[in-house]
Symmetry: C2
């Protein structure tokens, strides 16, 4: 898939970017996925849906990044192995290939690195990479698919996460009504929705929520003007760097498909877009928006719902006598 | 979908049945699904995949009847709300429309009645029918779909379970290699597989595992010749009737797709088909099979894997401000 230069290399290439932008808008359309290797994508899709990558045999990538529900689980924080409560809201997998890094704190450089995380996280899938590979290596159809694609006799973590990442690269949502408008269809938006977009820009939301994903391309402090009140102990980037300046810095989430990805913020504390817009304007921009302004911005945000990835439910190859058995209750 | 008379009305109509059977075999091919109402099937599919029918917002019908995995969860007993351990093995939903009744003890007359059970079972989805309907009624797209199909302003449990059942009626698996053979393709099976089928008949397995589903059409005692050893307290039909004669009587499970629906028996205690065949022959038929006989029967059983239902992953309509929120941790 084509990546816009702004995401990959910073601002130096913004001339290129501007050239591709209708009306010089700070938001660019989502491009359709270009699947370069269909066999790899298909394999990655199977893995994405395979709960045997978890200790219980019950939790797959799709459990918390549910592609029936905007690539999220629509829960404040996720349910992990043994019904453990996750520490942070599961971000949508949709358009995640456009993120400058993965996880709320950016601790994974890319989708491939991210994919390895939850499998071995004791609060999520609670497995080990070794056992996950033992499961896959015990299944002839998986071995054959990996052998044919990666030219190796043994399935490796590198290949597994590569295939999952390749599938995830296809999970983009082009052709939203807003993108139709960006591409020149003046009738794609109502007057109210357009006013909402103007307010979105004039209020300052667009300072962080820009680019094709309307976010995902920078880390910002949650609570710039006013502190964000939450019980969630996550400290954001500071958890990695230890730097005081990084406290409560999180990756700006994409606003693409935001109507589908409730509840909002890293703690999932807000269920309604109206509330989320109000909180953001106050805490990040020091602006108290009127209800009708919020309503217009929300009307605009709902035009960002694109075509959801559409594909056949994958059929998984069966386990064999050699497959390590799931351990849901031990 | 066409139902064979044997399942609906007993033996009186067996002349009709015989007329349709190639070679007068005691097993008949699975017929392809005839979707009579595509809109209803599509709605039922959405509901089947919608975890908002559970208290947690995390468990859907597909969680335990996973259509990527033979319509089962491939666990001995299922994981329910709050990670509770289910009491009995989740039967496959594939070809379940051919069952004479639903659940291991047949306590639901049909798929429609079955569908209401897990939603309100505190060990499974742990919701209430009232709240599940509140969720659906709060979502305009669901209201519109139900209104258009069922001509009512309010979504009812009757309509919900009807739509789910209509979707489940489509979950048949025709065109297995064995069905190709039944339909006259002599080369569809190997010599070993055919020998397995002969052994399956001659040993007596076919006494209970017959009809198009190779099972699902009678209740039989688990442990006829020799008692079945298990820690599972389920008593089968006796749990409904209280009759001593019904102790350990369970619905005979289908053998269609049995390669995909491990682990086996009502307690899910056996993972390998070889073991399951050995146990069945000893306990039900008083026969100790040789390893090579078992291998041939297993080879035959693996020819019963049919075409898995193939469809687009459904996209679910989003919740609204009026939607009752999931309660995963309360």
């Amino acid at each position: 898939m084509h990546k816009l230069p702004l995401l990959a290399g910073g601002l130096a290439l913004s001339f290129n970017l501007m050239a591709a932008v209708p009306n010089n808008e700070p938001v660019q359309p989502i491009e359709a996925a270009k699947a370069t290797d269909p066999a790899k994508v298909e394999l990655g899709k199977q893995l994405f849906f395979d709960p045997r990558l978890s200790r219980s045999g019950f939790i797959s990538c799709n459990s918390c990044h549910n592609l029936s529900m905007g690539g999220s689980d629509n829960l404040p924080t996720s349910i992990g192995h043994n019904w453990q409560q996750g520490p942070i809201n599961s971000p949508t997998v949709l358009n995640s290939s456009l993120n400058l890094a993965q996880f709320w704190d950016g601790r994974a450089a890319d989708l491939k690195e991210q994919a390895a995380g939850p499998i071995a996280n004791p609060k999520e899938m609670a497995f080990t990479h070794t056992l996950a590979l033992d499961v896959l290596n015990s299944i002839p159809q998986y071995r054959e698919a990996f052998r044919s694609i990666y030219q190796k006799d043994e399935i490796t973590l590198d290949a597994v996460t590569d295939a999952i990442a390749q599938f995830e690269e296809t999970l983009v949502t082009p052709n939203s009504r807003f993108d139709q408008w960006l591409n020149g269809d003046a009738k794609a938006l109502t007057a109210t929705e357009l006013e909402g977009y103007q307010l979105f820009k004039n209020t300052g939301c667009v300072a962080c929520h820009n680019g094709p994903a309307l976010g995902g391309n920078s880390f910002q402090k949650m609570g710039v003007v006013e502190a964000y009140q939450t019980d969630n102990p996550a400290e954001g980037v500071a958890g990695l760097t230890g730097a005081d300046a990084d406290r409560f810095k999180f990756k700006v989430p994409t606003l693409r498909n935001v109507e589908l990805t409730y509840p909002y913020f890293h703690d999932g504390a807000y269920w309604n877009l109206e509330e989320a817009v109000d909180v953001m304007a106050r805490l990040q921009l020091g602006r108290k928006l009127q209800d009708e302004e919020i309503a217009k911005i929300v009307a605009f945000l709902k035009t960002l719902t694109g075509e959801q990835p559409s594909f056949q439910l994958p059929i998984l190859p069966p386990s064999t006598a050699a497959t390590p058995r799931p351990q849901p209750f031990e």
